[in-house]
Amino acid sequence: MEYLYVFITGGIICVIGQLLMDATKLTPAHVLVLFVVSGAVLTGLGLYQPIVEFGNSGATIPLPGFGYSLAKGAMEAVQKEGLLGGIKGGVEATAAGVAAAVVFGYAVALIFSPKSKS
């Protein structure tokens, strides 16, 4: 049953993205930015936590989940360290994923070359 919730939550978030791209002239880059910021704002308002509890990975793997981790990290750090925590908490909570994307991405880019498309 848990797997079904994950599937549905993840699926619905992606469909929202698809409709945004098809119906408006937003590029993938715009959609990614919009989703991260919305995820963070919804988390700040306390609205994203219930979605994560329902959909688990279905809510954390799509990009709003990245926003969720950022906002949650910031808010949790405030409780421990106050304002300083609020500034560094979000970056700290997501540092592993971002560092992996940057470093591994750099390595992949140095090894592989883009291929012609047909």
Binding site: M21, D22, K25, T27, P28, P114, K115, S116, K117, S118
Partner: protein
């Protein structure tokens, strides 16, 4: 007195230059399209053994020009001017080609309309008695255009159905004051027309009003009816743009449907090749003309052709600043009579 000018925007040549040689090279995908047997050369690998796509495009263009010269037994020393361009910033492919060939060079940017822009000015040089042999050549390459104007090749995204596919290809035409071949009898220079389209994935709609304007002006300047021509060809309007041109010209009282086609629709089979609205790019009208149409003219299967290359004069910066996309279209008449 501009004795050779007729009507608003048209020049009628008194000593029409002859197209004595033409050569075209296209990429592998174009080589699988409906016109494959007509291209002079189809690349197996669109990297052309070069290290970057930009260098590959340059090499493709250089080989096209060298082969066009060979075909009519000319060397770079016989050529007075080379006119041409491509889609890249500072005309990278064409400028480097001109460096290697060492022919006096005018670099032109008219986006995808550059082929007829080059042919127009080359014809003016010859008719005016300023040159005997002039090369008009353009190129485009899917992978260089994609990364300059759109997204990286390996980036995951979807193209809307109105998007077009940049042609990997180049064409070179040698115009001469003497010799034999189809003649350039008229040119009609287009105005920049902008109807406020800002969707970069619908270039056909942005360029179509310019094409309709140039075709209508040409017909009224020359007093010709559309069926004077065996073919009226636009450069790269695709499905959407083609429909708009037909509609707009109908509104101006010209029914061109019987003789009209678009190079971007001829070069690919959109339903099979997943090219959405059709081909685009400087190389599109250049390769279709120098490959397919030139041979039809030579064998006299067609007598009069109106070639109207169409360009979208946008840049990545104009798009980001929210500007609309201005279109331009230049027409050249080729005649065997």
């Amino acid at each position: 007195m501009a004795v050779k000018k007729i009507g608003q925007q048209t020049i009628q040549f008194q000593n029409p230059p002859k197209a004595i040689s033409a050569y075209s090279i296209v990429g592998p995908k174009e080589g699988q399209g409906p016109l494959n047997i007509w291209f002079d050369e189809v690349l197996e690998d669109d990297m052309c053994q070069e290290k970057s796509f930009e260098k590959a495009e340059g090499r493709m263009l250089r080989n096209t020009i060298i082969s066009a010269m060979k075909k009519c037994k000319k060397t770079p020393k016989d050529i007075d001017y080379m006119l041409g361009g491509d889609l890249l910033n500072q005309l990278m492919s064409t400028s480097y080609t001109a460096r290697d060939l060492s022919i006096p060079f005018f670099g032109l940017y008219g986006a995808c309309s550059t082929m007829t822009e080059s042919i127009s000015l080359a014809s003016v040089l010859i008719d005016g008695g300023f040159a005997d042999h002039v090369i008009a050549a353009t190129s485009s390459h899917f992978s260089t255009a994609e990364r300059q104007f759109r997204f990286p090749l390996e980036h995951g995204n979807q193209r809307p159905p109105t998007a077009q596919w940049t042609v990997t290809g180049s064409g070179a035409l040698i115009l001469s004051s003497e010799g034999s071949g189809p003649m350039v009898t008229h040119i009609t220079t287009g105005k920049v027309v902008d109807y406020g389209i800002s969707d970069v994935n619908n270039m056909g709609a942005a360029m179509a009003p310019a094409a309709a304007d140039t075709i209508a002006t040409h017909l009224s300047d020359t007093g010709r009816m559309p069926d004077f021509y065996d073919m009226i060809l636009t450069g790269d309007l695709g499905e959407v743009g083609k429909k708009i041109v037909l509609d707009m010209l109908m509104g101006k009282g010209f029914s061109i449907e019987k003789v009209y086609n678009d190079c971007g629709l001829m070069i690919f089979d959109n339903s099979k090749q997943d090219t959405h609205s059709g081909g685009s790019g400087c190389g599109c009208s250049a390769a279709v003309f120098c490959g397919y149409i030139y041979k039809q003219l030579q064998s006299k299967k067609v007598k009069n052709i109106l070639l109207v290359s169409t360009g979208a004069l946008l840049s990545t910066i104009s798009t980001q600043q929210g500007e609309s996309i201005p279109g331009i279209a230049h027409a050249a008449v080729f005649s065997t009579a």
